[in-house]
């Protein structure tokens, strides 16, 4: 191996690059091992996933030897092992079930649906944490957006009123968090938890006050956007042919956020406030102003995610509807290293598990009791990701630290 590496090095490619390619290749082989056992290929021989997964493990181990870094190498190896394992499981289960669950176009559409509220909240989390304010309150802001989006669409009669109400509700709750944690310099985790409680109390109160425990379905929900020429195409038609407007908006927001944070002067100010507020202050940037703006923006974004949750997916509201999605989004922020694209990728992974968790029971009969356990899948995956992968990713330097004006 070392001889090969040396040869490559002479040709001008560094060992580092080779190691990284190997690591990614190992992970990729793991995914491939699983994929081969699924429709449409549906390899029925156990040897196939085991072989491919085994190759992935070897590639990962080689990458480790070449010094790719323990974390990345171990990640590649674990993905390969996991892929082989899942592939093996897939070859054991019957083809009809597999074909019922793994309709890729439908699964992709469901993944995007599930990932959208997460992605909105995660983008919010990125803005907030990039400015140096930890936002545990995303969960509550999501919930506020969900309820007031529904209420607005119901009472004011159109989906975009719902959108405005939900976004404003999220922003208002974020303003509370901002005031307490920026001006009053409270512990941001405690304040975020308080904000979550507040959202539970407020939405619960008004839900019962307005709907006496029963939602209504006679609401102008967020429309879907049908692309006429794509609608009839085989795979893409079902996957993205008619997606909800808010999914498209979210996809745009991911790109816009990336540009805003990394390619504009506003983004530079945001990051400087989160990394070294004192220096930013010295240069005349209003630390408090930037932080207020970022936190309130994060609430608005999480509120948007909430609006999609009720007016786009569930079409009804129930108490504590957000069900931990704000925290999953927070995990996505960390997993994505405080970058919009990375966080969105993480949201897709979590969204995929959620979509899978919803589809799997169908294949095994709704009354099989143990299928309830699938519902825990997104949380298990989040836990594993937080534990294994996130580990030591480095947050903005001033994240979570209140700033005292000089």
């Amino acid at each position: 191996m070392s001889v090969g590496a040396a040869t490559v090095e002479r040709e001008g490619i560094s060992t580092d690059t080779v190691a990284r390619v190997l690591a990614w290749g190992g992970g990729g082989l793991g995914v491939l091992a699983f994929w081969l056992a699924l429709p449409p290929v549906t390899a029925r021989n156990v040897v196939v996933p085991l072989m491919v997964g085994g190759l992935g493990v070897i590639a990962g181990a080689a990458a480790l030897r070449l010094g790719v870094g323990r974390r990345v190498g171990m990640l590649a190896i674990s993905v390969a092992v996991l892929g082989a394992l899942l592939g093996w499981l897939a070859t054991r289960s019957n083809i009809e079930s597999l074909e019922q669950v793994f309709v890729w176009s439908v699964l992709l559409a469901a993944t995007l649906r599930a990932a959208t509220p997460l992605a909105c909240a995660a983008l919010g989390g990125i803005f907030s944490e990039r400015s140096g304010v930890v936002n545990i309150g995303l969960e509550g802001m999501l919930l506020m957006g969900a309820f007031f989006g529904f209420l607005g669409a119901d009472k004011l009669g159109s989906w975009w009123w719902g959108l405005i109400c939900g976004v404003l509700a999220g922003a208002c709750l974020a303003a509370v968090h901002a005031f307490v944690s920026i001006h009053l310099r409270a512990d941001q985790i405690v304040s975020g938890t308080a904000v979550n409680f507040l959202a539970l109390g407020i939405t619960g109160y008004f839900f019962i006050e307005v709907y006496t425990d029963q939602g209504t379905s006679d609401v102008d929900f967020t429309p879907t956007f049908t692309i006429p020429w794509l609608h009839k195409v085989d795979f893409f038609g079902a996957a993205i042919g008619d997606m909800n407007v808010l999914i498209w908006i979210t996809l745009a927001l991911v790109v816009i956020s990336h540009i805003a944070i990394f390619h504009t002067s506003i983004g530079l100010r945001l990051r400087s406030v989160g990394e070294h507020p004192k220096a930013a202050d010295t240069l005349g940037i209003s630390v408090y102003g930037v932080r207020y703006a970022a936190v309130i923006l994060s609430g608005a974004l999480a509120g948007l995610g909430g609006v999609y949750l009720t007016n786009g997916i569930t079409h009804s509201f129930s108490e504590n509807l957000s069900a931990g999605r704000g925290f999953i989004a927070l995990a996505a922020v960390i997993f994505g290293r405080w970058r919009p694209y990375g966080a969105f990728a993480a949201c897709l992974i979590f969204g995929f598990t959620e979509a899978l968790a919803l589809r799997l029971p169908g294949a095994y009969g709704e009354d099989a009791a143990w299928t309830t356990l699938f519902r825990a899948l997104p949380y298990v995956v989040t836990l594993v990701v937080v534990a294994g992968v996130v580990g030591r990713s480095i947050p903005p330097a001033a994240d979570g630290k209140p700033y005292v004006k000089q």
């Binding site: 009053l184 931990g324 009791a369 143990w370």
Partner: protein
């Protein structure tokens, strides 16, 4: 706060010239009651404004809560008799132990028992600098195991059976919380995210175990998604009130014991010293030769013991079975957060704060609110949630109080002790 803009060298404080904020800070350091009491009052005041905004009379509401919690019992003094435990003899007692308000008070104290334990679960981790918002999941796991042990082994010696159920539940809670502790210690995974995820995993596991067709669903009614009932021998004896009408059970003494144990561990043992040292500054503790990882794990595990016991006393004390809807509506672990924070993470504080929230929780239970106060009784529950949120918010920002205090006099000269 980080740099004091003063040229004077730090001199010994002049007792005659201490600032108001300084006095308050000393109160803080000595575990004073001023700030928490002001915080709670402020929260109730703002909660009253919320009630006012929704068109109800806040004084009526709070009076309804007070009476619903059975607190009027204390000043309803007369000449009564009380039976001595384990005998037929009676003695004179100033309070009527079988009045309606006495029954309400029993319910408040039952809730107090659970809240003390879930509060301690949050408080112990806090002292180590960890924010355990997984009390709910640890409570669930403890409850599942308590139900499982409590509903099996019929005919076992009662004391042994109860002890076994409580110990198993406590260990289960410890293991569940310990997962988050180990992850924090080894990979640095943030305990807030991991404990929330563990909550949801425990939640769905419970829905599976006791739900339709689940392995621990009851044997008698195949269409009722609840567990088996805890057998008589494993039920905690009732020492005040009617055992058939949810009287006050012996679990209350377990809560007292837990408070004492918490105080001793934190203040009088090496473990407590190390936990506090890590809580103040992990780096300094590490430099001082304390294993931060080990203390993270132990602090979480001990927290889990408290929360697991909370699940056990609930199941063995008055619920006796757990079902789909019980799991879906439980939020007792989250109230523990408010209890711990209001109680400043001390044993005495948790005991008192648990009383506040138990009274609030029981007083706002739908059955206790007179119909003329709220048109929809369930609303009272959301009011109690809102007040909890306000308490957290004001405690998180207890600098509000310092700020207002200092406005009247000198500028703030002391740092705020973070609740973390």
């Amino acid at each position: 706060m980080t740099t004091a803009p003063t040229v004077h060298p730090p001199a010994a404080p002049d007792p005659g010239e201490e600032s108001a904020a300084g006095t308050l800070a000393r109160w803080h350091r000595t575990g004073g009651l001023v700030a928490p009491v002001i915080t709670a009052l402020l929260a109730f005041l703002v909660g009253g404004l919320v009630v006012l905004a929704t068109g109800s009379n806040p004084i009526d509401v709070y009076k309804g809560i007070w009476n619903g919690a059975g607190l009027e019992w204390f000043y309803d003094v007369g000449s009564n008799q009380v039976g001595l435990p384990f005998s037929d003899a009676t003695v004179w007692f100033p309070w009527d132990t079988s009045s309606a308000s006495a029954e309400n008070l029993q319910q408040t104290l039952i809730l107090w028992t659970t809240l003390v334990l879930t509060g301690l679960a949050v408080a112990f981790a806090f002292r180590c600098g960890l924010f355990n918002i997984g009390g709910q999941g640890q409570y669930f796991v403890g409850a599942y195991f308590a139900i499982w042990v409590g509903s099996s082994f019929a005919g076992m010696n009662s004391a042994l059976h109860i002890t076994l159920a409580v110990v198993v539940a406590a260990l289960a809670g410890a293991a569940w919380a310990g997962i988050a502790g180990i992850l924090k210690a080894t990979t640095g995974a943030h305990e807030v995210i991991s404990t929330i995820m563990l909550n949801w995993i425990a939640y769905y596991t419970g829905l599976y175990l006791f739900g339709q067709g689940g392995p621990l669903q009851n044997d008698l009614q195949p269409f009722s998604p609840t567990s088996n009932e805890v057998v008589d021998g494993a039920r905690l004896p009732v020492f005040w009130g009617d055992p058939l009408l949810q009287g006050l059970h012996m679990g209350m003494f377990l809560a007292f014991a837990a408070l004492v144990a918490f105080w001793i561990i934190i203040n009088r043992t090496t473990l407590g010293y190390e936990v506090r040292a890590v809580g103040f500054s992990p780096d300094a503790a590490r430099y001082g030769g304390i294993s931060v990882a080990r203390n993270y794990f132990l602090a979480m595990a001990i927290s889990g013991v408290f929360a697991g016991m909370a699940g056990a006393v609930d199941m063995l004390g008055w619920r006796f079975s757990i079902g789909f809807s019980d799991i879906q509506s439980s939020s007792i672990g989250f109230v523990g957060i408010a209890v711990a924070l209001l109680g400043r993470n001390t044993a005495l504080g948790v005991g008192l704060a648990a009383l506040v929230f138990a009274a609030l929780g029981n007083g706002t239970a739908a059955r206790n609110i007179p119909p003329e106060v709220f048109d929809i009784p369930e609303q009272a529950g959301n009011l109690s949630l809102t007040i909890q949120a306000l308490v957290l918010l004001f405690i998180g920002a207890d600098i509000v109080i310092l700020y207002l205090w200092a406005k009247t006099g000198q500028k703030i000269g002391v740092g705020r002790r973070s609740p973390l």
